[in-house]
Amino acid sequence: MQAPESQSLPHRDWIVSVSPHVKSNETVAKIMWTVVACLMPPLFLSVFIFGVQTLIITAVSVISCVAVEYVSQKALKRPVSIMDGSAVLTGVLMAFVIPPGVSIFLPVLGAVMAIYIAKHLFGGLGFNIFNPALMGRAFLLATFPVAMTSAWLAPVDGFAIFSYFASGVDAVSTATPLAVMKEQGMAKFVEMFGSGTSLYTSFFLGWRPGCIGETSGLLLVLGGAFLIYKKYITYHIPVSVLGSIAVFTWIFGGEGWFGGDPILAVVTGGAILGAFFMATDYVTGPSTKTGQVVYGIGIGALTVIIRLKGGYPEGICYAILLMNPLSSVIDGFFKPKRFAGPVGGAK
């Protein structure tokens, strides 16, 4: 029952709800560690695609996030909660949305932004308005624009992890599919990455340049499906985000109307990672079902607008950050109807 007097509210050890009270054994820590576990397969696959540096960057990101969490909670005289897994999850997610070829000092700076500024200054877990991991990425993208948009590595055929040690070449830099499409056009894209079903398959499996954890659509979908099966997230946000990205790209993405490639739009970039693991954050997203669908469509629409018209090749990070502050407003619109009016007549 610590109640640090530095807080505006008393420490919340009480729960207010109507009876009957059914307690399940789900805790914040259990959910967080489960999500972290769901993100491990894509991480290990990224080692085979890009090499061991993805593992090093993720480790640095996780360690610095946990360290910043510890220091912030000590400094703000709050109970230290580094074992609940939320800082670890932020660290993994932040590493997943930065390119594999960056310096290992970038995630350290990103961790300060993500954990201290975007989370603890707003009151800690449960009060952050913006997604901390994406805040870290947006901060790094604004601070190191060249590294964050050019440090891509080409996927290695066979086992990258062994050739990394065998050859003297560190890495072959390249450009992401969306950047090629945006800057050099569709013809160059087809020349570099091919087209048709084989393209979709290799992109969905993860053999393409991209951020550390965003490439493997298949493993991310499996992880997300497991979270839905465990009822940690619902299908509303992922389906509405991916669905609206596909539909809007199909309508506006091509030369004329209805000429875009919806499958490609979903399997490239960070769409799947963002839809399943970023947009579904409990704290920064709406909690009503209708609200979640509206929120997801908003994210999808903004993503497509930024991809097609904006200055950046990929927009889902900014799309989620732009929708985050709207989530409580959206929830306000779709508040469940009150069953009976207040005593003394309806207001």
């Binding site: 975007a118 009151g123 009060f127 732009l322």
Partner: protein
Amino acid sequence: MDLFFLAISATFVNNILLAQYLGNCPFLGVSKKLETAIGMAAAILFVTSLASLFTWSVFTFVLKPYGLQFLQTLTFILIIASLVQLVEIILKKKSRTLYNALGVYLPLITTNCAVMGVALLIAKKELPFSEMMVFSSFSAIGYGLALILFAGIRERLLISAVPKSMQGTSIALVTAGIMALAFMGFKGMAS
């Protein structure tokens, strides 16, 4: 189509508040409640569009033909100040609640750099009439959008356990910075 892109650019890409950092005073002052924020947004929209119309006319038909551009700052201040007085009188008569809610911030539009900034930008770019109207009204809409969004966040911040040293204006400024970071996503659009 050019007008459409100009509108998008004025609202999001070059958002007067989050990309050009003009008009921060009412942004922090009236954003504590959603209701006053909406009122302020409406007042800004009204004043900016009207002020731009007047300043543009004076600039195009009086100052420029006679080579008196060096007087623009002085003239614009005078025009905007008298306009704000007009808005205040109308609100006092027509909507007493809004008038009381806006309180000291309505007279503050007199010296609001967002209104002045839009007028000066229009004069600097020498926009023709239709583009001037689109630019001024959508700049004001962009301002109002940011203000209302921000008020939504601040209402939520009231129930958050923000550290004591960061409460009030400090966390509001941090939030404004974060929102500006999020608005960077619109960079390069419609240019």
